[in-house]
């Protein structure tokens, strides 16, 4: 059992007033210190390399979608947010999605789709804002999800860097 000894108060502490004044001086000084509030709609959210926002589809430099509609992300998605219908294409990869929907209301932004993708076709972008007037509008189809590769480059570089860390042989 721990016996806590009550601290004996000194005379100035018993008189309250000096201690009260000390407390007041602290709060007064704090009034002039910089504020930490972020004025959100005017001041944008802070984004770094690590920012894991909403998933977006990569569009290559030649305007073709990188996705081959293999369905791995659909299977990896723990929230069943992704729906893919595959179709044929004349390109060498032969398959591309004809429908790629992400229900942003279901998406939990876990990033499993990004990890599962074998073709580096889906990445977590730095887009964080998600608001609309209806539920239907928040089921994003392929047109809403497509982003040029350059827009996602920061995240792609970050993921590559993290992945190479596991590829280096360990010292043991």
């Amino acid at each position: 059992m721990v016996i806590v000894k009550r601290k004996e108060l000194s005379l100035s502490e018993k008189l309250y007033i000096p201690e009260v004044l000390r407390g007041l001086s602290i709060t007064f000084r704090k009034m002039f210190e910089p504020k930490i509030t972020r004025q959100y709609p005017e001041e944008p959210l802070i984004k770094t390399d690590v920012t894991r926002g909403q998933p977006r589809l990569v569009v290559n430099e030649n305007d073709t979608i990188a996705c081959v509609s293999c369905g791995l992300c659909e299977a990896a998605c723990p929230a069943y947010a992704i729906t893919i219908d595959g179709g044929e294409t004349d390109r060498a990869i032969e398959r591309e999605p004809v429908r790629f929907d992400i229900d942003m209301l279901r998406c939990i932004l876990c990033g499993f789709c990004e990890e599962a993708c074998p073709k580096d076709a889906i990445y977590m972008s730095d887009e964080l804002e998600l608001a609309d007037y209806s539920r239907e509008a928040l089921i994003y189809d392929m047109d809403k999800l497509k982003r040029p590769k350059a827009a996602l480059q920061k995240r792609i570089d970050y993921v590559n860097r993290i992945n190479t860390r596991w590829q280096t042989p360990s010292s043991t």
Partner: protein, 337 residues
Amino acid sequence: MSTWEGFLIALVKTVVIFGTVVQVAALMTLAERKFSAWMQYRIGPNRVGPFGLLQPLADGVKFIFKEELTPDGANKLMFRAAPILAALPSMMTIAVIPFTPDIVIGGKNFGSLVVADLDVGILYILALGGLAIYGVILGGWASNSKYSLMGALRASAQMISYELTLILTILAVVVMSGSLNLGEIVESQPTIGSWHIWTQPLAFVMFVVATFAETNRHPFDFSECEPALVGGFHTEYSAMKWAMFYIGEYSAMTMMACLTVVLFLGGWTVPFWESAPWYVALAAFLAKTSVFLFLFLWVRWSLPRFRFDQLMRLGWKVFLPLALLNLLVTGALVSLL
């Protein structure tokens, strides 16, 4: 001066003073939020109007349009009367506060800016201050809620223990100045050296502490004490009725700040300028008052709440004997010197 003229002047003074008090009460709600924000590294309301200055107006509109709830089993009459009783007395007490010396415009003397220059001004303030607690007690009792009743009980016990100290410290000032008229009390301290804060420092400290208890402000706001009593006496109140309690609280603060200035800081007297014109005197009065209004907010956001038994011990075992002793010494010195 004809009767009509006198009536008109009194009317203008009344409108100006009461309008100002209500405005100050409204602005105090904004100031409270602003200062608390600054002390916590936040910005505070800044969306409505420049610097959030229209926030009280937005709050008022919101209060008017909110749904009013009356709990089952509440005493309807008392439940409605309580907010009025809480707000009115503190606004009425402001009537005897003299804000300026005689106002002279174009050689015409309009008298001091005071609604009622009573010879028993202090008695009037104390009587109405005693009434103000009825609003809290009735509100708590009529709500038919345990928390509200607890809040009301605490408020009444607190009032009894602090009103005594308040009266005794005021009495010491009355003994010094030899008058119950607030205007004459101000005139008894014409220079900064003769302010009663210097002659009665102990009474000043006790008076300020007692005003905090009297207005139910932190650190003595046991009657509303959120963690223990939900909302205390106003737990069951909503919309404008609830706002009335707050208007009452903030105008009581305004009134107590004015009273402190009148009793201890020489009211309208301007330091080192004895023959200052009335508008400078008014500005001096307002400046001194705002210091104390700021103190109310400042203390609230600095100190933790006392425990109820600590308040009682402080009130009965420390302040009451000290105030009595202070009065005794003051009386002895005044009669001997």
